[in-house]
């Protein structure tokens, strides 16, 4: 378990040839009487032939996520298809600094990018702004802390919306303009003069409302619309 309601699952998939950070898979769950349900989940791992790692947040009243988080046991099986998606994707050969904005379990595909950045050993500057309800809701908390200490080009900012830590300098609340790094601060070049290749690439992932707000703030802060890639997840059904 990553938090009280999020769990990381590791699946052995012998014919999995690998994937890029940001891509997702389709899962199909089938009950004994043949009823089935399908959902999409982001890949949490960097490319890993033979293995697929997912982190799933249980949605209260949901159909697939409570099974994956609470019920599924080692040895149980499901059908999996992927990797899917080629747009919301980062690989170490892409030039330019990277800004990641995560809302809640939207951290998962962005964590795959952070992990790839660390593993590949490139010096690409990364800034992760991770918005969570409270410190208890932060997924991958120890791993993120380790990376932040180890790697000077990786900045990790945790922003809380409901309740923060006693020594937190920011009043808990939703993502605001002041929370958004500009295209040039902390990064290499000014957006107006920089060649497109050294522009900051921005990836935003989270619930629909979060992403809409973040994308609007990013543009207000001077990030070009075509430098922002988004992945939204809606409510998973009534």
């Amino acid at each position: 378990m990553e938090t009280r309601s999020a769990r990381t699952l590791l699946f052995s998939v012998p014919d999995w040839t690998g994937h890029d950070p940001g891509q997702h898979v389709d899962l199909k769950l089938t009950s004994e009487d043949g009823y089935s349900a399908q959902r999409s989940y982001s890949l949490a791992s960097t490319s890993s032939p033979g293995w697929v790692e997912l982190t799933v947040q249980a949605v209260p009243g949901g159909e697939a996520s409570p099974y994956l988080v609470d019920t599924m046991q080692p040895g149980d099986e499901l059908q999996l298809r992927g990797p899917i998606g080629g747009w919301f994707r980062w690989t170490e050969d892409l030039p330019g600094p990277v800004l990641l904005i995560a809302g809640g379990s939207g951290i998962v595909p962005l964590m795959a990018m952070v992990r790839r950045r660390i593993e590949s050993g490139v010096a690409t500057p990364f800034h992760l702004s991770y918005v969570a309800r409270t410190p208890d809701h932060v997924i991958y908390t120890n791993e993120l802390a380790t990376y932040a200490q180890r790697c000077s080009d990786l900045t990790i900012e945790r922003l809380y919306t409901r309740a923060g830590l006693p020594d937190g300098r920011r009043t808990p609340g939703r993502l605001a303009l002041a929370d958004i790094p500009g295209p040039s601060s902390a990064f290499s070049a000014d957006v107006a003069t920089a060649p497109r290749t050294s522009r900051t690439r921005v990836y935003v992932c989270g619930p629909t409302g979060f992403v809409e707000n973040a994308a609007r703030l990013l543009q207000e802060r001077g990030h070009a619309a075509d430098a922002i890639r988004t992945e939204r997840f809606g409510p998973t059904g009534s």
Binding site: L29, S36, L78, E212, G237
Partner: protein, 201 residues
Amino acid sequence: MAVVSRGFGGRRQVDPQVPPGQYRTDDFPVLTAGPTPLIGTVNWTLDVTGVDGASHSVSWQQLMALPVEDVTVDLHCVTKWSKLGTRWRGVPVAEVLGAVGADLEGVEYVMAHSHGGYTTNLPLRDLLHGQAWVAFEFDGSALAAAHGGPARLLVPHLYLWKSAKWVNGLELLREDRLGFWENFGYHPYGDPWREQRYAGD
């Protein structure tokens, strides 16, 4: 042979109105590759480009003067949600093509273009005969920017990525070309009832 996931019960609601692999939602999720653009109607145009490369623009005023239809349709998104009974107002695509006197001789496909560079390819026949609209109202109100306003393509019999938001161009083609998601491995046609999610389905 299906793999059974031990202990999985699920809701066991098989809804005949929902295509295979889809589930029903009453919300209207937003899925877009980038930020939502804010587009006004004053300078809005929809460019129809013929196979000869000649282009004709339809202004917002001209669009509003064309015959409108009110339709109630089901939406099916490839990310697996379906929303049933949605109410739209729009101009049939056939009326838009007719208004600019588009020459459809030899035209088999259409590439829809959107503000921001998004594209999606469709067979021409799927845009005619009361199957597709340039929609500008949802549920009795002006279409919100997040859902593709001021106007989007509405082709409800195909997965929703074919219903290009913020549509600003229809390019008539003799031969099929792949659009934005289709180039990333999504199905070139996208029929939800045949579950054509990805290339090869």
